[in-house]
Symmetry: C2
């Protein structure tokens, strides 16, 4: 091989999601755009809140374009970080220190940078809770450690006992993602507390902090009056990784942040490691125009209610047809059990009906498919007869 084999393998092996997306494009060309029900991609379907365009136009109307598009400090514009910290305090009741916040090119960058900052040794392990976003493995391995998945309890919830049993002297960090991609499950405050207790005991036992990396791009996409608990309220060694991709419907613009809890062990050293990892991975600063946009729009979200209505419609129909699915109170995903226990049996049966859903194997949880319902309501309505036929095929409907 003329180049780095691991990087080649990552580039050559398209993700299942992208494979399906490409198939969908081809299939739409064959049978017509409106005949294919593509639930493969987690691309927000609601437009950004109107404040986004208003703020962008206001920002562009500056006499000083050189400053508008110029480098910010590597950590990001200080005023932006101050605004985010202030809003977060009001909404979640925890005070971040703007000087321990680092603006990033989105959630993937936040995670890759955080993992490179904390992983020290090739024996290091990073735990996460299945089902989980497949790129966690990619980022963890590139940072030089091993990803270990903890199988879920009933309802795709956190299995605290299994979690405690999975921790050992090599556990450096835990990635927790709530609302969860791919299940849409929101972990309860009780579970968060239990996770925190396990981590406190394990950090004490092994004599070193185990970092809780909170991947929360779906934090604002939450229904049923629930609220995502702010993890630094429950545990001190927390690194929050956020992205505006979903809440502001700006996934292509790559804007997010890392916030090191001011209560973390030796927080300043940890923050400097974050800055160093950002530098070493080639991140000079987060995009400047969108940093300033975030300052204006941090408190807004797109029309979350549209997702809730999609959830209600699709969850209601699928469970009526006989499918089993953990109750999703957030994000924009349903994670549906395959009636045979085999993920591809269900995804292939769906494909025959031109319904595109992602088999679950890469999410570390066999026997499910992920349905991304960030699509138009009309598409969901038109897809329902196909879902009914799929249920009938498996003998689910009475």
């Amino acid at each position: 091989m003329i180049c780095n084999e691991k990087m080649y393998a990552l580039g050559a092996k398209r993700s299942v999601i992208r494979e399906l997306f490409e198939y969908g494009k081809k299939r739409k060309a064959e049978v017509g755009e409106d005949k294919v029900y593509d639930f493969s991609l987690g691309n927000p379907s609601v437009p950004p809140p109107k404040e986004v365009k208003e703020a962008l136009l206001r920002l562009l109307d500056t006499p000083n374009e050189t400053a508008l598009h110029g480098y910010t400090s590597a950590q990001g514009d200080k005023g932006v970080r101050e605004t985010i910290a202030k809003n977060y305090k009001e909404k979640y009741g925890f005070a971040f220190d703007p000087d321990l916040m680092y603006m990033t090119c989105g959630a993937a960058a936040s995670l890759a940078i955080s993992l490179n900052a904390v992983i020290k040794d090739e024996k290091d392990e990073v735990l996460t809770f299945a089902p989980f976003f497949p790129e966690y493995r990619v980022f963890t391995e590139k940072a030089g450690a091993k990803l270990v998945a903890v199988s879920p309890a009933e309802g795709l919830d956190i299995d605290v006992e299994a979690f405690a049993a999975a921790i050992n002297a090599h556990t450096r960090a835990v990635i927790l993602n709530s609302p969860n991609n791919p299940s849409g499950v929101v972990y309860s405050e009780e579970k968060i507390k239990a996770v925190a207790e396990v981590l406190k005991a394990a950090s004490a036992k092994y004599g070193a902090p185990i970092y809780l990396i909170s991947d929360e791009p779906y934090r604002e996409l939450i229904f049923d009056g629930k609220k995502a608990p702010s993890l630094p309220l429950y545990y001190k060694d927390v690194i929050v990784c956020y992205s505006y991709s979903k809440a502001l419907s700006l996934p292509g613009e790559r804007i997010g942040y890392i916030a090191v809890s001011p209560q973390a062990t030796d927080a300043e050293a940890l923050y400097l490691a974050v800055c160093g990892a950002g530098r070493a991975l080639g991140y000079v600063c987060a995009p400047s125009l969108f940093q300033l946009l975030v300052k204006e729009c941090d408190a807004y979200t797109g029309d979350i209610n549209a997702y809730k209505e999609n959830r209600d419609l699709l969850y209601g129909a699928l469970t009526e047809y006989g499918f089993t699915c953990a109750y999703p109170s957030g994000a924009f995903y349903l994670f549906v059990q395959s009636p045979t226990g085999d993920a591809s049996a269900l995804s292939e049966a769906a494909k025959e009906e031109d319904v595109l859903v992602v088999p679950s194997d890469s999410f570390g949880c066999a026997g499910y498919v992920r349905i991304a319902y960030c699509v138009s309501r009309d598409l969901i309505e038109r897809s329902l007869p196909a879902f009914r036929r799929i249920a009938e095929k498996f003998g689910l409907r009475k």
Copy 2:
């Protein structure tokens, strides 16, 4: 240490350039904004061409904001890549393949990704020509290899013999930067041909391609009727790393690209390794709005003539005062010899006159200071008496 020590060290050790910039801010507060002559930062001083704002307003005026700000493919929007390839062919006479191009978050990302794609082994070495941009060492070491600098010939030009002598069986890649940061020197076509010949012979001798990574963010900032030669015309195993930071005065927006030469050995595998490295480092896609902006503005530049006039004024004055400096035909830097041979002697003497220039040690070339003349003409004019006094201090003026 509770975190990764190398990342901590990179975060904790501010670059000399940033130290100086912070000092300048403090000093300006003390003695007044107009009394400090800050030549420390390579931040473009001319505004973006007017077409940038026009195009941004046009792009924002879309009914489909979801698509405007949505994910592009990981490689970047295909239409954007096609436009860049077409313009490059017209201007530089070499045809890139849009399917071997990868949009990035700027030059640092382009370099970090390319190095991670080609470096295979911890014994690998990456060569570069001194003086060089200090982050080359950071990116190379993070990618797992060692950076080796080749000392320059007279006039800060490439020393071809020293270059040939520095290559060995572990040489995986060579980074070439023309116009050069920090010297402003533009390497001649003859030197490029000589470098290519050395690389051809060495690739044949060691039985593996040695990649020529062309870091060319200053490609369009070139004066005196010169033109930067397109490296893929002279050597096949070329990876072009570009950024719009300087040409379009958009350094904070983080937009650039990698182009793998279609003539490179096993070009598709190399390209897939680039895609894999981008993925593993957390780059999902380059910022979408600025990808589309590039499609509209790839052929434009800011007012390069303003830089040329600054160059003429400052180069003329400094050489008249007795300073020695390689002739800079590009970028916006002068690299001035310290009369004592000691970089900090000159930078400290300048500091006493409130002239901020960067000592050269981190650029791998002792005994110089870098003057970034991407500042207003007025600032340069006002700084000249101070430069004259510095020359007198060293006994340079007759």
